[in-house]
């Protein structure tokens, strides 16, 4: 199977009902919203959604009935407030029950790092006084050298990590820059990686700057060219944040009926990523264009 696939094929073939799916690795930027919309359209069910801070993407997936569980540090709408679907699911089991495993940003990052490194846990000093240190993901350990009490964080190995990046080649070798969060840890921790990217570039572009490479392509199962695939979240150098989209969603999703309308308008009634851009309209897309006067200083790998 070629790695370079349509988003529809990649989600159909790589995301299965019941899987654990890590998204939102760069916190509020590079969120693979387009992939989330595709997961909703394909009516995937029983997913364990994993994240640090999901911003409003998980609220959408929860409202659409795709999730059985959330494992993460924060679920809501960062600019606008609480996640209404998240609340409805946890408080009223609507549209279905939702289990929650609480992490902090750091503990989730350590869980991914443990899996990325191939060890079953990593020790930390964080969360020693938090009530959620009682969750199953944590256990007390003692340093064999100093005798200090520490917290062990259990390895977190998602079945698939879906990541949005700036550019990738057809083999899944990708360049990513700007705000990274746990992007590399998630890519190395997951059983497999699905990338969406702003552009597909020749292999030589990747090889020209190997320090910018996210992970080698042999960890990547699929790569999909989805310009503005992080909308409404930003992609450094490619797209600004569409703040209004978050506030509109927050207002519309306050009641279930409003959310259903939103879902029809932006996901179910839309024909894939191209249809989504059409619906956004050329003017709004143009507004997302970043200002381009922030080029990285040249670097030579001359030998």
């Amino acid at each position: 199977m070629p790695k370079l696939r349509s988003l529809r094929d990649a989600v159909a073939e790589e995301v299965e009902d019941g899987m654990s799916v890590f998204m939102g690795a760069a916190l509020e930027s590079l969120i693979p919203f387009a992939a989330g919309y595709e997961i909703i359209r394909q009516r995937k069910r029983g997913l364990t959604l994993m994240t640090t801070i999901s911003d409003m993407q998980f609220d959408q997936l929860i409202g659409a009935g795709c999730a059985a569980k959330v494992c993460g540090a924060w679920v809501g709408n960062v600019a606008a407030g609480l996640g209404h679907n998240y609340r409805r699911a946890v408080e009223r089991q609507e549209p279905g029950p939702l289990a929650v495993e609480n992490h902090s940003n750091f503990s989730m990052a350590l869980g991914l790092k443990a899996a990325a490194m191939g060890v079953p846990y990593l020790p930390t000093r964080t969360l020693m006084g938090s009530d959620f240190r009682e969750e199953d993901a944590f256990a007390g350990v003692v340093c064999p050298f100093t005798g200090e009490s520490l917290l062990a964080v259990r390895a977190v190995q998602p079945d698939v990590a879906i990541l949005h990046v700036q550019r990738a080649d057809a083999e899944g070798n990708a360049h990513v820059w700007g705000n990274l969060g746990v992007t590399q840890d998630a890519a190395m921790a997951a059983q497999k990686v699905v990338l969406t990217c702003e552009e597909i570039v020749p292999h030589e572009v990747i090889l020209s700057d190997p320090n910018r490479t996210l992970v080698p392509g042999f960890l990547v199962a699929a790569v999909c060219c989805v310009p503005l695939g992080s909308h409404p979240s930003p992609t450094q150098g490619y797209s600004r944040r569409d703040d209004r989209f978050y506030f509109d969603y927050h207002a519309q999703s306050r009641e279930r009926a409003g959310f259903d309308e939103w879902l029809d308008q932006w996901v179910l009634g839309v024909d894939g990523p191209d249809g989504y851009l059409e619906r956004l309209g050329s003017e709004r897309v143009a507004d997302l264009e970043p200002d381009g006067n922030h080029m990285a200083a040249p670097v030579s790998y001359g030998m």
Binding site: A79, N105, K113, S130, L180, D185, P234, H294
Partner: protein, 243 residues
């Protein structure tokens, strides 16, 4: 509150800034008394000057372009865990008399209401040299004992942090919409340090669900200076955060 937050940042300090008001407070402090302060963002960004445009989240492109260091979340949290971050701002839905914060669950008319969760706040509360809590002051938010400790303050009082092995120093102050609060060194209990201009101690006590004591020399919060107001306008020209 923005100006009070700015005043908490000392020159040269490394500060976990977070979002919303502290972000603006960091910009104001840099402009005025703390030109060498460094802002650290848990998404993996370290800056020596404020974001280039007003932003809604720490991951927004203007907070990344022109940064000093972009790395992973693990790296900035490692700076925190290894004791190299002097201060961090945190908030929550509820705070209690010992500065514990809750952002997981609150009660609302007998019903449980699910909140977003910790994000990085629990990490900062556990590990930063000291923390500054920022909260809107309402009686239902200032409770005797939080229902759930997301971000630990002083637990149930003096000695609690030491006993549990928390590496950071705990909250140094709470900045609320009504006043500024310190923690009694003997009891680790929140106490009124100053009331904002136009607010009285009685009003603060009315909006607090436990009997708040007074710090020695309780006074009025100094009014914003002209320079402080100008700096706020510069970084929040549309009054998004300070209107």
């Amino acid at each position: 509150m923005v100006i009070a937050a700015a005043r908490e940042i000392r020159d040269g300090e490394r500060v976990f800034v977070g979002m919303r008001l502290p972000l603006l407070g960091f910009a104001v402090a840099k402009e005025l008394h703390a030109p060498n302060a460094i802002g650290i963002f848990e998404s993996g960004v370290v800056r020596d000057w404020p974001a280039l445009e007003p932003i809604f989240t720490m991951s927004d492109p203007p907070n990344v372009a022109g940064a000093l260091f972009c790395c992973g979340l693990i790296e900035v949290m490692s700076l925190l865990q290894s004791g190299r971050v002097e201060m961090g701002f945190i908030g929550g839905a509820e705070v209690d008399r010992h500065g514990n914060l809750n952002t997981h669950w609150v009660g609302d008319d007998g019903r449980r209401l699910r909140l977003p969760g910790s994000g990085g706040a629990a990490d900062i509360a556990t590990l930063a040299g000291r923390c500054v809590i920022i909260m809107n002051h309402e009686r239902r938010r200032f409770v005797p004992r939080v229902r759930y400790i997301t971000s630990p303050g002083y637990g149930d009082g003096a000695g609690w942090r030491e006993q549990r092995g928390l590496a950071g120093g705990g909250p140094s102050r709470t900045i609320s919409s009504l006043g500024i609060f310190s923690f009694d060194p003997a009891t680790r209990e929140m106490q009124i340090e100053s009331y904002h201009p136009g607010v009285t101690v009685e009003e603060i006590r009315e909006e607090t669900d436990w009997p708040l004591s007074l710090a020695p020399d309780v006074t009025q919060t100094p009014a914003p200076s002209r320079e402080e107001l100008l700096a706020v306008r510069k970084y929040d020209p549309d009054g998004v955060w300070t209107s």
